[in-house]
């Protein structure tokens, strides 16, 4: 393995190129029309245009990606996350083209991609799954019988469901029949499969996941847990390692269960086994992410391991560079996803040009970003523009440093989630580690609102000062255009006006 094609964009493509450099591997970037100026294209040794801008004609276009690898003589492909990273078809296409796929084989990917199949396989392997049925219910009456047996509340889930479709929470026996019919018909019309199964509803759960690494020589390690309970509509916002709450015995049991899950699936390379953990510390298999995850960084920070580099070693057929006995957690790390979204407008994606950018620094601060001043943020791709990852000796230090870094982090020209996340981390419940996966949705309005409102007066003065500055600029520009009475040549005024870009 000598040259790796990075089939992704943005911060994760940059991250993978760095790991390739550390391993002495040459790199090939691919890019869409919109991405010619992006950092991954400039950083890689070679770059190939895919043609087009939409994901389907670029970073999802399997044939184009394979052709780019062949034409540059790349012998491996790293998919990053998103795009083709969980496409078993892409894994098979790589194999057919003689390319090493930096990730798991296609069989475990397929197995873990099917909710009911994964559930059944994990149950058989002795990994705890959420109580419920392993097979679809025959009809509404059967579903009611099963639900009564499990106890309420329960979730009715479509076998082929996803994106919140074909899923119903049921709190009483009388509601089962109606919910069953609606879930089934929704799933049938959306996914062409109306099968529905039943799971117990885990109340106030925390989302805790285990990072695993398995090589082709039988080596297997788990790198402890990440807690990702701060979610907005199932989208992770903040992740940390270790969990603020998980008891040590549960941690060890989850690590073992995660490795059992990976081995049972025939898994190789880096993967993440996600669990729901209830208030009593019972944990249940949720799903396995068969790829590098966005939040792998916090695990790297507390374990001092370069996970992407290990992925490359494993893909090249080499053994892991360390064993379970070497794994030691040190300190605490927090990752904050920085998104080009406007929390004030329901987290609407915010497109535009990054006019001004100040990146934070200081002890323990790591930035996995691919942003620059003048960058155009388009609506073609995911709104996450980077990650702030902060390490501290303990959770308090990590949190304090994270908040300070967010205060230093200035982006103008587009709206970002930076001020919102800062307010989130300032909440007492977050400081004290008292939250579950429902916390953010339940408290969203209050957090999106304006915190203490300490700066209301300053905001009013700023608005007046901005108004005055704009009026003065406009007057100056107008005077210059009229014939230079303002002492400013017309071309300067013109430049100023275009720089204002309709802000007046």
């Amino acid at each position: 393995m000598k040259k790796v094609l990075v089939a992704n964009r943005g911060e994760i493509a940059v991250r993978i190129i760095r790991a390739c450099r550390a391993e002495g591997l040459a790199t090939v970037a691919v890019y869409s029309d919109a991405d010619r100026r992006e950092q991954h294209v400039r950083m890689a040794d070679e770059a190939v245009a895919l043609g087009g801008s939409s994901p389907t004609e670029t970073y999802l276009a399997v044939a184009k990606l394979i052709a780019a690898a062949k034409s540059t003589g790349a012998d491996a492909v790293h998919p990053g996350y998103g795009f083709v990273s969980q496409s078993a078809g892409f894994v098979d296409a790589c194999a057919a083209a003689g390319l090493v796929f930096v990730g798991p084989p296609s069989e475990p990917m397929r197995l873990m991609g099917g909710k009911v199949e994964a559930r059944r396989a994990m149950h058989a392997a002795g990994v705890p799954v959420v109580p419920g049925t392993l097979d679809p219910c025959r009809d509404a009456a059967h579903a009611r019988e099963v639900c009564d047996g499990i106890g309420y509340p329960v979730m009715l889930k479509a076998v082929a469901g996803g994106g919140g479709k074909g899923i119903r929470k049921v709190t009483r026996s009388e509601e089962v029949a109606g919910a069953f019919d609606r879930a089934a018909s929704e799933a049938l019309s959306s996914f062409g499969n109306g099968e529905v199964y039943v799971e117990k509803c885990v109340l106030a759960p925390r989302h805790i996941e285990i990072q695993v690494l398995l090589d082709t020589h039988g080596g297997a390690v788990h790198l402890g847990e990440r807690e990702c309970s701060l979610q907005r509509r199932h989208q992770k916002i903040v992740e940390e390692a270790p969990s603020s709450w998980l008891p040590g015995a549960t941690r060890a049991a989850m690590g073992e269960a995660a490795l059992r899950a990976a081995r049972a699936a025939g898994y190789v390379n880096a993967g993440t086994v996600e669990f729901l953990v209830d208030q009593e510390g019972n944990f249940y298999f949720l799903e396995m992410n068969t790829r590098l995850q966005v939040e792998h960084t916090v695990t790297e920070m507390v374990h001092g391991v370069d996970i992407v580099r290990e992925q490359l070693r494993i893909a090249a057929g080499r053994p892991l560079s360390f064993s379970q006995a070497d794994v030691r957690a040190n300190g605490h790390a927090i990752e904050v996803r920085i998104c080009a979204e406007d929390p004030e407008q329901g987290f609407f994606p915010s497109a535009g040009r990054i006019e001004h950018l100040e990146l934070p620094g200081g002890p323990g601060v790591r930035l996995d970003v691919a942003v620059y001043e003048g960058q155009e943020i388009t609506l073609f791709y995911d709104s996450m523009i980077g990650k702030l990852v902060v390490w501290g000796r303990d959770r308090d230090e990590a949190l304090t440093r994270t908040c300070e870094a967010l205060r230093e982090f200035v982006v103008s020209g587009i709206r970002t989630t930076i001020p919102f996340t800062l307010r989130l981390l300032e909440q007492d419940a977050v400081r004290e580690g008292r939250y579950d996966t429902g916390y953010l949705d339940a408290n969203l309005a209050r957090i999106v609102g304006h915190g203490t409102g300490r700066h209301r007066f300053a905001a009013s003065v700023t608005a007046a000062l901005v108004h005055r500055e704009r009026a003065r600029n406009a007057a100056r520009a107008a005077a210059a255009v009229r014939g230079g009475q303002g002492g400013v040549p017309a071309w300067v005024a013109l430049g100023r006006r275009s720089a204002m870009r309709g802000l007046e």
């Binding site: 006019e355 709104s383 020209g413 001020p419 007046e504």
Partner: protein, 167 residues
């Protein structure tokens, strides 16, 4: 010069007093110096007395979003002349949510969640606009009532197209 500023729905009067090349405002009965300098497009540094605050500003004077530290404020600002003109036009100073909500990006309306005549508060979801396969809630930015709905589920809209008129 006096300015009428609304900060998150609350109407305030701000007077900027210029003296000796500096600007002053009155805070709790005490005059303090106020200085806003541009760092780079949209990014400013505010000194209020000796209190230092980084500021990011975006939008027009009618709809100016200001981020001061961790706080984000929706504001609008008009000078005395503009406020008088607006009053003369019959706009008065009613600061309920009135006006046109436009599409901030091209997309397809997936669902309209309000009906004409509905009373709404700031943050009420009005409709779902799908763009680049992402479903985005468009919310009311102030209290008011739904005066007119210009789209229905399935309507394809361009950037700037009217969606809902709030009265």
């Amino acid at each position: 010069m006096k300015y009428r500023v609304t900060v998150d729905g609350e109407e305030l009067s701000v007077e900027l007093v210029e003296r000796g090349g500096r600007t002053f405002v009155v805070r709790d009965g005490v005059e303090v110096a106020a200085e806003l300098v541009l760092v780079r497009n949209g990014a400013y540094s505010l000194l209020l007395g000796v209190e230092s605050l980084p500021v990011v500003a975006s939008g027009t004077n009618d709809d100016l979003t200001l981020t001061l530290g961790s706080e984000t404020w929706r504001t609008s600002v008009a000078d005395e002349r503009e406020s008088l003109a607006a009053a003369a036009m019959g706009g008065g100073s009613a600061k309920r949510g009135s006006g046109l909500v436009r599409a901030v990006m091209p997309g397809i309306v997936r669902e309209v969640m309000v009906r004409t005549g509905d009373a709404i508060v700031r943050g009420t979801p009005l409709l779902i606009l799908e763009a680049m396969k992402m479903q985005n809630e468009v919310r009311a930015d102030a209290d008011g009532t739904v005066a007119e709905i210009h789209v229905k589920a399935g309507t394809a809209v361009a950037k700037g197209d009217p969606l809902v008129t709030l009265g």
